[in-house]
């Protein structure tokens, strides 16, 4: 029996033709779900704004609502204020994270690799990591000659722990046979670190950095309340002092958007350095 054109088309679809149903499902999951999430968030924000505006006691804060905030955001983006405020914050975050990685990764490797280092450092590290980074503010102000230095220090103090502990945990999970085989093949200490340990824990380091970015971003705003006259934290503080609540809300949106993109970069890096089930 010869095949009809319709059945041929169906067979083609099954055997490798474009699968519209799967494409639709994938697009729905990739775009539809996030749009729903954003919609719910905006609706709640709008409801909050409406409640504030409807109450005579709080109506002076009505500019917190989405409409004035987005209108102001467009204005601030167009006149360059958003970039002007974001650039110093990003520089401080970048420097703080850099210090956290430069110190956290090697110390984490040592903690993961050597039981003696782990045991010696356990109590001091657990003690130090429980201290709120903001509690270091007075010491940071005394210890650093510039406000910028103090802020970078506070960010680094907050960011170092996720990087350090994630690195240490990654090292401890390395298959001991990988060390044995590498030794057997003639690896020296540096080669072991470069060719075996770091690639093995790449995903753990970036998972730690991802957590650190979150913590650092949270610490940034209060840290920028310190003496500086630039950055997103300063912009928020300034907007509060000048009662420009639409600017304040716009800067909150900017902080959220930048944080979201930084997290996205970290997720991409984790995937790039993940060797689990590579095909």
């Amino acid at each position: 029996m010869s095949a009809t054109p319709a059945s041929l088309n169906m067979n083609t679809a099954r055997e490798g033709g474009f699968d519209w149903k799967a494409f639709g499902m994938s697009a729905w999951r990739g775009i539809g779900y996030p749009v729903i999430g954003i919609g719910v968030m905006l609706a709640l924000w709008w409801l909050g704004g409406w409640a504030i505006a409807s109450n005579p006691d709080t109506e002076s804060f009505a500019d917190f609502a989405p409409a004035p905030a987005f209108s102001r955001l467009l204005e601030l983006t167009a006149n360059g204020y958003v970039w002007e405020a974001s650039a110093p914050s990003l520089a401080r975050i970048g420097l703080g994270l850099l210090w956290a990685v430069v110190i956290g990764v090697p110390v984490g490797v040592a903690v993961g690799l050597y039981a003696s280092v782990r045991e010696i450092s356990h109590v001091p590290f657990q003690f130090l990591r429980m201290i709120s980074p903001l509690a270091w503010m007075p010491i940071a102000v005394l210890a650093f000659a510039t406000w910028d230095g103090a802020i970078v220090f506070l960010i680094a103090v907050a960011a170092i722990w996720p990087v350090l502990f994630s690195t240490a945990q990654g090292v401890r999970r390395i298959d001991p046979l990988w060390f044995k085989v590498a030794k057997n093949l003639g690896a020296d200490g540096l080669q072991m670190l470069r060719r075996i340990i770091l690639p093995a824990i790449g995903q753990d380091i970036f998972a730690g950095i991802r957590l650190a970015v979150g913590v650092a971003w949270i610490v940034l705003v209060p840290a920028e309340y310190l003496g500086v006259t630039s950055g997103l934290g300063y912009a928020i503080n300034d907007a509060r002092d000048t009662l420009e609540y639409d600017t304040l809300a716009a800067m909150v949106v900017v902080i959220g958007v930048i944080g979201f993109f930084l997290d996205g970069i970290c997720v991409k890096l984790i995937k790039k350095f993940s060797w689990h089930n590579q095909d």
């Binding site: 046979l177 990988w178 044995k180 590498a182 057997n184 093949l185 003639g186 060797w275």
Partner: protein, 270 residues
């Protein structure tokens, strides 16, 4: 090029233990010989192999390879483990050339030759996680051979594989060690494996670990497991093991494949 191995009166006691794991072991392995070490679990076979690899230093005595005392691991005496332990962030080729990379060398022709030798030329650029267990063990073998070792040490390398893959790899490794002129020492629980791969089988007793006997296997390679000579050699080895170490328990010394079927039928006939 192969190297001779001299084990000079090794005794080893692990930290925190009073009784030695290995006691006064003396052994000479001529260059190019294929030796199997069999014995019950915990008799110290793997400990002895780790000492040959320089991964463990004996408390008394020493190991010499080609006259040089073994004090640390070296790419000249390479060990293959039960698990292939490949590095999943590297592809097949990168795994195989790792020893050369550590030595600061590059030799793509040699890697191509080894890929061909283990039948994985087509998979050179694939990630190792996409390979089967047998293919992964072949990569581990090629990796061990890349640094041109004089001695190949095998620590139950095929025990996690299915019977067919195991038999194929046993034959391949026996062929390759002959072809590449390597001295080989294999630790195994599998009587068939010992008979299929070794020129000489050493029997170890436990508590403390000692070499209590040996059996020559004078069969040509490749060894056909279905031939009567193979069964006879295996029979002789089993009898010797029984007489020296005691009754063989299946969990301790394993028989595989056809030889086990032959044994079972004999028991039924009796």
């Amino acid at each position: 090029m192969s190297a001779n191995i001299s084990i000079d009166f090794i005794t080893h006691t692990f930290k925190g233990q009073t009784d030695p794991t290995l006691n006064n072991i003396e052994l000479k392995i001529p260059a190019g010989e294929r030796v199997a070490l069999i014995g019950r679990s915990g008799c110290g076979k793997s400990t002895l192999l780790h000492m040959l690899a320089g991964l463990l230093i004996p408390t008394e005595g020493c190991v010499r390879i080609h006259g040089h005392q073994v004090t640390r691991p070296s790419a000249k005496w390479n060990m293959m483990f039960q698990k292939p332990s490949l590095y999943p962030w590297m592809n097949v080729r990168q795994n195989i050339e790792l020893g050369l990379t550590f030595a600061g060398q590059k030799n793509p022709e040699k890697i191509d030759y080894l890929l061909d030798l283990v039948g994985l030329s087509e998979k050179a650029e694939e990630h190792v996680q996409s390979l089967s267990g047998g293919q992964q063990q072949r990569v581990a073998l090629a990796r061990s051979l890349a640094t041109s070792p004089e001695v190949l040490l095998l620590d139950e390398p095929f025990s996690a594989l299915d019977a067919f893959t195991r038999a194929t790899l046993q034959d391949e490794v026996a062929r390759i060690t002959g072809q590449e002129d390597l001295t080989m020492v294999i630790v195994t629980h599998d009587i068939d494996e010992a008979v299929a791969m070794a020129d000489r089988v050493l029997i170890m007793s436990a508590n403390p670990g000692e070499i209590v006997g040996e059996e020559q296997v004078d069969l040509p390679f490749p060894r056909d497991r279905s031939r009567a000579e193979f069964s006879r050699a295996r029979e002789q080895l089993m009898t010797k093991f029984d007489s020296l170490v005691g009754d063989v328990k299946p969990a301790e010394i394993r028989q595989t494949g056809q030889s086990k079927a032959l044994d079972d039928s004999k028991q039924q006939a009796a």
